[in-house]
């Protein structure tokens, strides 16, 4: 029993670390460090950098452009990624629809869609939730009616993250209502966002940004070759997608990076005044968080160790999403608490690449802390709310 890396793993770690040192674009790094929001172009440039290195899709099979990394290598990469404060991959193409296409798509679809996803030339968004179907996703009503070689789509998808930047959307749609179980009769289709009848309306979220959208389909004609797998089996494919999300969603490495940053911030009197290190209540909150995060880290390591020897992850893996998001949100809270009054000025555009820190309200990043806190309340809601996660664990792990 040990948690040491092998010689090869250590070598790999060095390789990854020098990649981040040499290839991570300095302007994107500066934006990340100064809490300046990234543009679509920044994400694309960064993901193309990974693509050129052959590292765009650590989870994909090698034949489709994956890295062939072991679970430990993926873990090392995620850690170095977080330590470099590099952006996370935008998940909709590489993390979500890609695996569904290479698992359930036909050869034609794989050839047509996977290269664009891998190179980040084609941007995807997710069409799952509907205004009337949140946690109860199987109640979805967007209809796809067969008309010759096409489906005609009518309905509305919502909470579509980055839908306004996307070229394509993958959707769960109802192809049949005449079914015994509501999970049947749902199909997985790919829709070009430029198709006539598709319209995107912004939803402004709590922190004042446009991140999510409503996507309306009005008699949208979708060729039958955009159906993935079998008609009516979309629910199964959609669930597989959520499993791909599971292992990466905890965000352990990123939370560790942020915790260290918080510790440094409260130690440094340039970043906060007065120093909070003498505040026993605040220090206790940090201590508690550190222990929770340690629990999450070792839970992830246990999961990795199981996967590495070909075992299925045990019940421990089911807590990753719940605890991972809770810890992220706790960090958001503590950054805001550390900022004090300076979390309150609503000056979302004050940080730019050429703005002078002397002109900023508050210490570094303070004014963003509240916006991150508000925005990230989403973390325990998306991808199946934490309450839904508990329902799933109760049923599948506890057998209740």
């Amino acid at each position: 029993m040990h948690v040491n890396f092998t010689e090869e793993e250590l070598k790999f770690k060095d390789e990854v670390r020098s990649f981040f040192k040499d290839k991570y674009p300095s302007d994107i790094k500066e934006k990340q460090n100064k809490a300046i929001p990234l543009e679509r172009d920044d994400f694309v440039r960064w993901q193309k950098t990974l693509y050129k290195q052959g590292w765009a899709a650590p989870n994909w099979p090698v034949e489709f452009g994956g890295t062939g990394w072991t679970a430990v290598q993926k873990y090392i990469f995620a850690n170095e990624n977080a330590k470099a404060n590099a952006p996370a991959i935008v998940p909709f193409g590489l993390g979500m629809v890609g695996p569904v296409i290479y698992t359930y798509g036909n050869d034609e679809q794989k050839k047509r869609f996977l290269p664009g996803i891998l190179s980040s030339d084609v941007w995807w968004c997710q069409g799952y939730s509907e205004p009337g179907s949140g946690s109860d996703l199987a109640s979805l009503k967007t209809k796809a009616e067969r008309d010759g070689d096409s489906y005609i789509l009518n309905g509305t998808k919502t909470w579509t993250t980055l839908g306004h930047m996307a070229d394509w959307i993958f959707c769960l749609v109802r192809t049949s209502s005449d079914v015994a179980r509501r999970q049947e009769g749902i199909s997985f289709v790919l829709v070009d966002m430029n198709t006539p009848g598709v319209s995107v309306k912004p939803i402004i979220t709590i922190e004042g940004d446009r991140e999510v959208n409503e996507v309306h389909f009005e008699n949208v004609k979708v060729p039958i070759e955009n159906l993935i797998g079998e008609e009516g089996k979309g629910w199964t494919y959609g669930k597989v997608l959520l499993q791909h999300e599971r292992t990466s969603i905890a965000g352990v490495a990123r939370s560790q990076y942020r915790l260290n940053r918080l510790k440094n911030k409260i130690k440094n009197s340039d970043d906060t005044q007065p120093s909070l290190t003498g505040d026993v209540d605040f220090m206790r909150k940090i201590g508690e968080l550190e222990i929770e995060l340690k629990a999450l880290e070792y839970t992830e390591l246990r999961t990795l160790a199981a996967v590495t020897v070909g075992k299925a992850p045990g019940p421990e893996s089911s807590l990753l999403k719940i605890r991972g998001t809770e810890i992220q949100q706790r960090l958001d809270e503590l950054f805001m608490e550390a900022a004090g009054y300076f979390s309150l000025p609503y000056v979302p555009n004050q940080y730019t690449l050429d703005s002078d820190p002397e002109d900023h309200v508050g210490f570094g990043g303070d004014s963003v802390s509240s916006l991150i806190y508000f925005n990230n309340r989403k973390a325990s809601i998306y991808g199946g709310s934490n309450e839904i996660q508990k329902n799933i664990i109760a049923k599948h792990v506890l057998g209740l």
Binding site: T277, M283, I291, A295, A305, L319, L400
Partner: protein, 378 residues
């Protein structure tokens, strides 16, 4: 990275798990707990025969060279089976001091007998005023004509009334809470001037309040150096803390499993109560608490044993986790069992009581959180 255990380690676990299943059921455990003696000698002898009592000692000392993994495996089963026999007191506490500091003569005289089960022993780690501060030692040892005269009180001495040998930290210099000036003495139970008030604790153990009234011991009974006993005392209690945390992990898992099982069978309002979402989510929470505790336990177990400050920090993190998550899991198990949860005749109550005792033993959650923060160096 590897969390698997070796075949040898797996064999240890199997032997004790099988023994508890076949020979140490709840009824037997309760008989032992309610008997005058603190433990069952036959059961303890079985531990000796199987070599469990030799595990955490070096081969030179007549041990099996086991490490934290082996101790963890044994203690988890001890937790699950609510085993009362004084493995912790003899092997981890008294044995822990002796293996760290005793000279060859002392090892021959005492450690061998402890490993072979020929002698019972313990460590008197606390005093009435100390609470969880190991360095708060008011008991004094004054030199007189080549001997040392001990005066003071020791509290909650586990296995005290059964012990032939009690290791007593006493102050030979400095003021009451100085780290320097604590000396460890091996005191025989039948020494003149020892007054012992023994009792059972809420978790069915034997413990004692001990008064030392001018107890005279020779300088041969000093374990280690004069004034320099604190580090070994702290390291030993840390090792014991790790051990009882493994025990608590076993108890928590057992409480959680039994609660889930109970909820599948207990019918109210026409359905098993496990069908109610309000209860389902609470059992998911206790599952997560158990898994997180297991993860933190593995953190402490896999921390480099030579990296003293990292190890202390991990152990305090773990004890904090037991103090909070353990309390959560224990209270939920009782609550979800309803009236059955507060009945003496069910194991739930006794698992809960042992877990509650462990939460306090060697420092509660608050104590270890403070220590964790101090060691974090923020």
């Amino acid at each position: 990275m590897d969390f698997s255990i070796t075949e040898e380690q797996s064999a240890i676990k199997d032997v004790i798990a099988r023994f508890i299943e076949n020979e140490y059921d709840f009824e037997k455990r309760m008989k032992i707990a309610e008997s005058d003696s603190a433990y069952d000698k036959e059961v303890y002898n079985f531990f000796v025969e199987q070599g469990f009592t030799a595990i955490p000692f070096s081969e030179e000392d007549g041990g099996l060279n086991g490490g934290p993994v082996e101790t963890m495996l044994i203690m988890k089963e001890i937790g699950r089976g609510l085993v009362l026999e004084p493995f912790l007191e003899n092997i981890i506490l008294a044995g822990g001091i002796l293996k760290r500091l005793a000279n060859q003569h002392q090892k021959d005289e005492w450690l061998n007998k402890i490993i072979n089960g020929e002698m019972q022993s313990t460590l008197a780690f606390t005093e009435p005023q100390s609470r969880f501060q190991l360095n708060d030692v008011a008991t004094t040892a004054n030199k007189k004509e080549g001997n040392f005269i001990l005066n003071g009180k020791k509290s909650f001495v586990l296995n005290g009334s059964e012990s032939d040998l009690i290791i007593v930290p006493a102050r030979t210099s400095g003021s009451q809470t100085d780290l320097k000036g604590i000396t460890l003495f091996a005191v025989k139970k039948d020494s003149a001037g020892i007054e012992m008030n023994s009792y059972k604790s809420v978790d069915g153990r034997s413990a004692a309040e001990i008064k030392l009234n001018n107890v005279s011991v020779s300088s041969d009974s000093i374990i280690g150096e004069i004034d320099n006993g604190y580090d070994a005392l702290e390291a030993t209690v840390d090792e014991a803390t790790l051990a009882i945390c493994a025990e608590a992990t076993g108890i928590m898992k057992s409480l959680h499993d039994k609660t889930v099982e109970y909820s599948k069978n207990r019918v109210q309002f026409g359905i098993p109560i496990g069908g109610f979402q309000a209860l389902q989510h609470r059992m998911v929470d206790t599952l997560m608490a158990c898994e997180e505790t297991e993860s933190i336990l593995l953190w402490a177990i896999t921390t480099e044993q030579d990296d003293k400050s990292a190890l202390k920090k991990a152990i305090s993190g773990l004890k904090y986790q037991i103090g909070t998550a353990g309390k959560h899991v224990g209270q939920e198990a009782v609550q979800l069992h309803g009236g059955m949860g507060i009945s003496w005749e069910l194991d739930i109550a006794h698992l809960f009581k042992r877990l509650s005792a462990i939460e306090i033993l060697f420092g509660n959650a608050d104590f270890h959180m403070k220590r964790f923060i101090e060691l974090s160096n923020v």
